[in-house]
Symmetry: C2
Subunit: 297 residues, 2 copies
C-alpha cells in the first residue's frame, strides 16, 4: 500500500466454491458469536449497514425493503382478513415492520432463536428493527420448531423468514415442520417460506416444496430481486388450503390500504408468480400451474 | 499454499468501488487486446465459458439464454411480421441465434465493431455463436454508429446489444444515434436497447430513455435476471412508433411459433414490464405508465 491510500476493506461471501459476492466495507460495527452462529454487522460504503450470519449476507439497508415487502404484503393482501400473524425467524425486524403496517393486524408473534441477531439489529439497524416494540407484537426468543409443535394458537398468516437450510434453520425445511404449521393455520390461512435461489438452489427448492405439498391444496412460488444474494433472483413459497395468490387478489386493495411501498405494487404482485420456463419445468407436478394471465390452468 | 492444494483462481469484477462479483476459473482460454478493448475468455468451474471485455463479465454459458431470449423474443412476438432485423453489437452471436429462430425473419444485419470478440466466441462458445454462419445473416465488422448514419435500408426490429456507455459503446446511448435508428425503422418498427441495472445505473437509465423519448410514441422498459451482472436484475428499453409491448402481444403466438425457450414465455413477457415502485417513480414522465393488468393507463 502506498502512503496515503485508505485501507481497502471488503466483506466477501463465497457460494458453493463457484461464485463470490463482495461489498466494500468502511468499518465493522459489531462482531459476536452466539450459541447458534457468528453474527457480524458492518457499515458498507454503498449498501448501508449490513448483517452477516456465519459470513453470509442476510440483509443490507440498501435493498432490504424488497425482501420484507414481498414476504409480507403478498399474503396479507391475498388473505381476506389477516388478524393474527406468526413470524418464524426474521430477527432483524424487517418482516414484522411490514406486517404491522396493515392496520387490520391485531397480533403478531415473532419467534427468533438468536437473541444476538435481534439485539444487534435493534442497535445498528433502527430503520429495519423499528417495529420490534410495537404493542401488537409478542417477541419470543426461542426455537420456532418447538413453538410450532407446542402452541395451540391459530394464525391467519405464517411467515418463515429463515436462513438457508444449514445450521439452526435446517428443520424449517422439513415435512414435520410444515405439518405443524398447517395445523396452526386458520381456514383461509397462508404460509410463506423463504425458498432460496432458483438458479443456485434447485436441489433445495424442489424437495422443500414437495415437503409442503401434502398439507396444502394451493402451492406456488414467487420471485423477487435481492441485490445482495447470489444471482440476484430469489423466491418465496406460497402455500394455502384455500387462497389462490392471483385469483383471490384484488389489485385495488393495496391502494385502498394506504400502505406505502417502494418495490411491491399490484403489477409486481401478479408478475412475481410468472415463472421462467426453466423453473416451471423443474417444479412441474409440484406447484400448481398458472397460465400467462395468472389464472390456474 | 500447502502442498497438494489446487490453484485458487478467480476472476473478479469490481463495480463502482462498491460491490464485487467473482467467479471460480479453471483456466484462461484466450486473452487478447483489440483496437477497442481487452478481450478475455475463461473456463469457469460452474458457469461454463465466460467472456469478459475490459475485465467486465459480458456473458457466461450458464445464463446467456436469458439475456438473448429476452432481447429477441419480446420484440419479435410484438411486431406483427418481423422480416428484417438489425443487431448493433452482439459480437458473441447469442442475439442473432435467437432472432434467427423466427422462421419469418428473412434478413439479419449484425454490425459489430470488434472482430476479436466475434472470433473468440466462434472458437470458444460454439453454442452461443452457432448461428453466425446462417445464410440469412450479413455480419459486418464496422462501427454501428457509422452504419446507422449511412445505410438507406429499413428494418422492422433493431436490437442494440451493447456494452456499458463507456468506451466504444458510449455513442450508442446518445440522442443522435436514436434519431438515426428511428429513421431506419419501418412503420411498425421496434427498438430494443440494453438499459443497464435499475439498482446501480439509475444515473444512466433515465437520460438514456429521455434521449429516446423524442423519436418514439411508445416507450417502456422491461426486466430480466442476469446472474453474472451486478445486482442480478437487468433491463432493456422498448421503443416503438406504434406497437405496445402488452396490448399488441398475443400470448398464444409463442406456442404457435414452435420456438423453444428456457426463460421466455408469455407470462414472463407480460411480467417483465411490471416495474417495482422505485423504478416507476424514478422514470415517471419518461416512460409510458402501465396499470397492473399491463394496459396503458
Amino acid at each position: 500500500m502506498e502512503t496515503g491510500d485508505a485501507l481497502s476493506l471488503w466483506v466477501t461471501e463465497t457460494h458453493q466454491n463457484s461464485m463470490r459476492l463482495g461489498f466494500k466495507v468502511e468499518k465493522t460495527l459489531f462482531s459476536g458469536r452466539s450459541r447458534f452462529q457468528q453474527v457480524d454487522v458492518v457499515q458498507t460504503r454503498d449498501h448501508g449497514v449490513m448483517l452477516l450470519n456465519d459470513g453470509l449476507v442476510m440483509l443490507s439497508e440498501r435493498d432490504e425493503f424488497i425482501y420484507h415487502e414481498m414476504i409480507a404484503h403478498v399474503p396479507l393482501f391475498v388473505h381476506p382478513n389477516p388478524r393474527r400473524v406468526l413470524v418464524i425467524g426474521g430477527g432483524d425486524g424487517g418482516t414484522v415492520r411490514e406486517v404491522l403496517r396493515h392496520p387490520g393486524v391485531e397480533r403478531v408473534v415473532m419467534v427468533e432463536i438468536d437473541e444476538m441477531v435481534v439485539n444487534a439489529c435493534r442497535k445498528y439497524m433502527p430503520e429495519v428493527s423499528c417495529a420490534l416494540d410495537d404493542p401488537r407484537l409478542e417477541l419470543r426468543i426461542e426455537d420456532g420448531i418447538k413453538f410450532v409443535a407446542e402452541t395451540e394458537e391459530g394464525f391467519d398468516v405464517i411467515l418463515v423468514d429463515s436462513t438457508d437450510p444449514i445450521g439452526p434453520a435446517a428443520p424449517l425445511f422439513n415435512k414435520e415442520f410444515y405439518s405443524g404449521v398447517s395445523r396452526l393455520l386458520t381456514e383461509e390461512g397462508i404460509l410463506i417460506s423463504q425458498a432460496e435461489s432458483p438458479f443456485y438452489n434447485q436441489e433445495i427448492q424442489r424437495p422443500m416444496l414437495l415437503n409442503q405439498r401434502p398439507f396444502f391444496e394451493k402451492l406456488h412460488i414467487y420471485l423477487f430481486s435481492n441485490l445482495t444474494y447470489p444471482g440476484g433472483l430469489w423466491s418465496f413459497g406460497f402455500a394455502s388450503g384455500k387462497r389462490c395468490p392471483l385469483k383471490d387478489f384484488d389489485p385495488d386493495r393495496p391502494a385502498r390500504s394506504g400502505i406505502e411501498t417502494r418495490y411491491y405494487n399490484p403489477g409486481v404482485h401478479r408478475a412475481s408468480f410468472m415463472l421462467p420456463t426453466f423453473m416451471s419445468r423443474h417444479l412441474e407436478g409440484v406447484i400448481d400451474p398458472l397460465d400467462a394471465a395468472g389464472l390456474e390452468a
